[in-house]
Every structure is written in C-alpha cells, then in structure tokens.
Symmetry: C2
Subunit: 329 residues, 2 copies
C-alpha cells in the first residue's frame, strides 16, 4: 500500500468514523474534526454521496451566514450481522449502520454442531438481506486473527480458521466474548481511547477477564491472557471460590480483594468492572475497604458494576463498526 493510498484510506476512515458516531454533520464540522482541508472533505463527501454511502440532508440553520449543507451516513448502505455463539443458544442481530436492530432472534446453539451448519445458516441470512457486508461473531474462546485457538468444550470449533470454514462472501470478524465486552464498556461509558480497564466475569465455566491496556486488547503471547482462574491465590495455587459465590462470605470477599490487589499492583488500571448479576454495590464496598488495608488507596482502581450482556452486544458492534470504517465499497 503506497503512501498516498494510506492518506486516502485515513481520510475515508476518519469521515466514516465521524458520521457513524453522529446523527449528521456539515463539511465544515468534518474539516475541523479531522484537520484536513475543506476542498478535500468536499471531494470525498461527494464521492460518498455518489455511491449512496452518504445522504445529503438539506440545509442546516444559519450560523450567521450562508447555511451549510448537512450530511449523514446512509443507515441502509451497509447492514451488519452480529452473531453471539453461546453455550445454550446462538443469538444473532442484523443491524443497520447506526446499530439499529433490523432483525433479532435466538436459535439452537451452533457450538455443538459442525461449523458448516453455522455456515449454511449464515448464508441464508446473507441471501435474505444482501445489504449485509460484515459478520462479527463473539465466541467463548481464545481468538487469534481468524483462528479459534482455544475453546474448551467445543472441539468442533477448536483450531478452526473461521474465515476459511465459513467461506462466506462477506467480511468475517471473530472476537472473544470477554474482549468484546471490555471494548463495549469502554465505548458505552465514553472512556478515552487509551483507557486501561479490566473486566472480570466469574462465569459458569470458571472466571475470566477482558484486559484493555493503553486502549489495546491484551491477548497474550499464546492468546491465554485474562485466565485469572490460574492466579495462585488459594492454597491450591488457583483462583477459584471454594466457598461459592456468597457475597456475604468473608472468604469470598477476601478472595476478590486479593484479585483486585493483584491486578492493581501489576497493571494499575483506572477501572475494574464486574458483572451486575454477579456482585452488588455493598459487596464491592466491602471489597474496596478490605483492599485499602493492604494497598495504597490513591492507586486503587474504581470498582464498577456493569451489564455484561449490554457491554458484550455493544462491543461486538463496535468491533464491526471499526471494520466498516476500513472497508472499501
């Protein structure tokens, strides 16, 4: 990719990102936001209008002079198919360019079946809605590029290159569910793009964490990061609540306290987030108080509860949206 192709790609990505994150904008606003010249914005917007990607929305109220023309991303220029592969069921959502639901449903879990069954199912969705240009999938396993490198319990998906095996005529993006959730949280809360966050999920199949450092996902050398059940907090050299998830139990409080202390000492993130169905404010207050006895409080992260499902849903969309900004139409 030559240097001016990169410049061009940068401009298009910038314009798309702005338009996808706001209802509508004028050329002057885009010029200002991207620090590029008005004529350049004008040229690119014209091209985007020509190919139906951007809609010209008429005139904005005057700001003291000639009224500016208003532009918005065409919601139906591209649709996205978001697929959530879960143990009990496979959820999917078809959304427009602004993440507005067009169709939503849950079907039998494909994780227990051959991936080709999933491929066939997705193909029917692509035929029903030819506007779909991207499929983003969330997976309860480790992802390395297009490959599922580790997915306990679902051998049919282990070490599969999903792009190859699904073999569909659209962009395929896969991501680990915890990683998607932490990205979703970051965006839902409007946190900075270089945030450092750790999202903790106790889960039925053992705990896990999604880790974002300097705004980038921490995947690890062998895609094994965030496997907090292997932190040797208990006597058995693991981190697993033998006492169960009893929010009143002192032992459970001590366990989570040590986890937080460990993460804080090593990474010093600004926030640690828990699933709202797993902990409550009272519990976190107790934990917070407990950790302060052993750790300087000015360096402790904020402890928050959040809605994991919402964060996960949003996160997968954010990942798809980033891809959308990169695509060429």
């Amino acid at each position: 990719m030559t240097m001016q192709d990169q410049v061009k790609a940068n401009i298009i990505r910038g314009i798309r990102k702005l338009l996808l994150n706001s209802h509508s904008m004028s050329k002057a606003e885009i010029t200002e936001a991207l620090s590029i010249s008005f004529p350049t914005v004008s040229k690119f917007i014209q091209e985007m209008v020509n190919r139906g990607e951007v809609l010209s929305l008429g005139l904005l109220p005057s700001a003291g002079g000639r009224r500016a023309r208003n532009f918005a991303f065409n919601p139906d220029f591209v649709h996205t198919l978001l697929v959530y592969l879960e143990k009990e069921e496979t959820k999917y959502v078809i959304t427009d360019a602004f993440n507005k639901k067009i169709q939503e449903d849950a079907v039998e879990s494909f994780l227990k079946q051959d991936p080709r069954a999933l491929s066939a199912f997705l193909r029917t969705k692509l035929i029903d809605d030819p506007s779909i240009r991207t499929i983003a999938m969330g997976i309860p396993g480790a992802v390395n590029g297009d490959v599922i490198s580790y997915i306990p319990g679902y051998p049919l998906y282990a070490n599969q290159n999903m792009r190859d095996i699904l073999n569909l005529p659209v962009e395929i993006i896969i991501e680990n569910d915890m990683n998607a959730a932490v990205i979703g949280y970051q965006n839902r809360k409007g946190l900075s793009s270089d945030a450092s966050l750790v999202y903790i999920y106790m889960g039925a199949n053992g705990p896990g964490a999604g880790i974002l450092i300097n705004g980038k996902l921490v995947k690890g050398h062998t895609m094994f990061s965030g496997e907090i059940s292997f932190i040797p907090i208990n006597d058995n050299n693991r981190f697993l609540p033998e006492s169960g998830f009893d929010l009143e139990d002192e032992r459970f409080i001590a366990l989570i306290s040590k986890l937080i202390q460990t993460i804080s000492a090593l990474l010093n993130p600004s926030q640690i987030i828990f699933h709202q169905s797993e902990v409550n404010e009272l519990f976190l207050n107790k934990v917070n108080e407990n950790v302060r006895r052993y750790f300087p409080s000015e360096h402790l992260p904020e402890l928050y509860v959040s809605d994991w499902d919402k964060d996960y849903k949003e996160g997968l969309w954010d990942i798809a949206k980033s891809k959308l900004c990169e695509m060429s139409f």
Copy 2:
C-alpha cells in the same frame, strides 16, 4: 500539524531510524525499506546532507549496473547526554549518534541534593559539548510525562517537573529505570516491536517490574504499575521474600513461582526476564518446573536472565534515539 507536515515528519523519522540503525545505506535501500519513491528519498537525503546531518560516503560496489552512492548518519551531528540518577552516584555518558561513548563518568549522587544542583552540573556539560541536543535521564521513580510523580526517599525530586526545574536549552526526557531496562532488553535482543515482556528486579528497595505489552510500556492510571511488592502472595498480603533471597530455599522458589504464575495468568507475556546478579539458570529451572505443576506449560513464558545494567543503559539510549528521530534541526 497539518496532514502533509505529518507525511513529511514521517519520512524524516523513517530515514533517521534506518540510518541510525545501520552503518550506511543507499537511496535505493531506503526507498525499498520505507515504501516511498526514490525521488522523494533523494530530495530528503539531499536536504539532510546539506545541513550536515547525513554524510555522503562515496560509491558502493556495483550490483551489476551503475554504482550507488552510499550515505550514513553523521555521528557527530548530534550528541546525547544520558544521565543515570542512582542512589549512591550519578552516572553520565555523552554519546554520539551511534551511541559511541565520547565521555563517561560517575559523580556524587544528585538525588540527595536540590535538583538545581543537577541543573548546574548538566549546564556545564552542555557548554563543554555544544553538540548535545538531548538529555535523557533514568530515575528510580514513577514518571508521568515530564513530572516525577513518585520517588520514595528523595523528597526534593518528588512531583517536580524536570523540564521546568532543570530549565535547559535542550530536549529533556525522563523515564523510570525499570521501564528503560525493558525497552533496552527488547532492542538488545532484537525482539519485535509489539513484544509483551515483563522485566523483574528484586532490588534493594523492594522488587519492581517493567512491563511492556503490545510493544508499549504499561505505566498505569496513577503511574503505579509494576509495583509487584503489593501482590498478595504472602500471608501478609504482600510479595516480599521473608526468607531472604536464598536461591536454594524452597520458600523463595515457591514465591517466585507464584509471581510468574500470576503474571502469566493475567498477561501471558512471551518472556519474563530476571537480573543475572539476582537469579541463576538452576534456580529458574526449578521455578519453571514448579510452575508447570499448576499452570499449562504451553502458555508459560520463557524465563531469561539478562544484564540489567546493560539493558538499562541501552534502554535509555533507545528512548533518546526515538526522540532524536522526531526532532527538527
């Protein structure tokens, strides 16, 4: 900074980086390495030669056709003053553009004195060698931009903006010593620019770690990352070897094993590095064997010993070199 200024800065940075990392290069080699056109390289090299930044070194042997002209960065175009602020003494090195030592000495520690004493000292060095354009300082404390945000034991330096208080007519860069060491290690070993490494130092004043994730230093929300003494491995909710640093002692082996297990479970780095004066191969083998009992061995990092002093020295230079590539002359 407008878009084409960025393009220009990118090109200059690219050329400098190449020339500073190789003895000499032809224009064609630079063209190839940077994916920019020959005439553009030619233009920039010409400018750099004109201002004395680059030397024209004559003709290379023929590769089957017309012989190419050979270019190299002028070693004496800029000198750098590297300052290592340590407890017992302050070391400094003046180096040329290829990190060749021009002058080296150790003087009384400035950490116990007012920073203005350091300023006066550095000023004499700048007068002695007017080629010095950058001062890079390594500090046993947390650094946030130009500010020393935390430095136990040296209250005169705490919360000082070093750029302001030193008030010198050159670029000032400060970095934590552990962070510099991990960068130095990365470069000395020629590791990839997105490596994930943890450098562990037991130290006299308590242990610390320099953490590099996806090629970026992890500094933490309040510059408190890597404070591994606060990891609650012992019963007292800390990580401090009560048994002393006895490499034969089972308790010490267990302690380090748990530290490695913790780091691996959370971050899954490719390497964990120890100081060669603190551990030995035999000890690390024992630790490695120990961790494998509780942690999947395919996800364990490689354990290495390295020369901390060399890594630190090299790291501070690498940081200064990066700055040098950004500067305008």
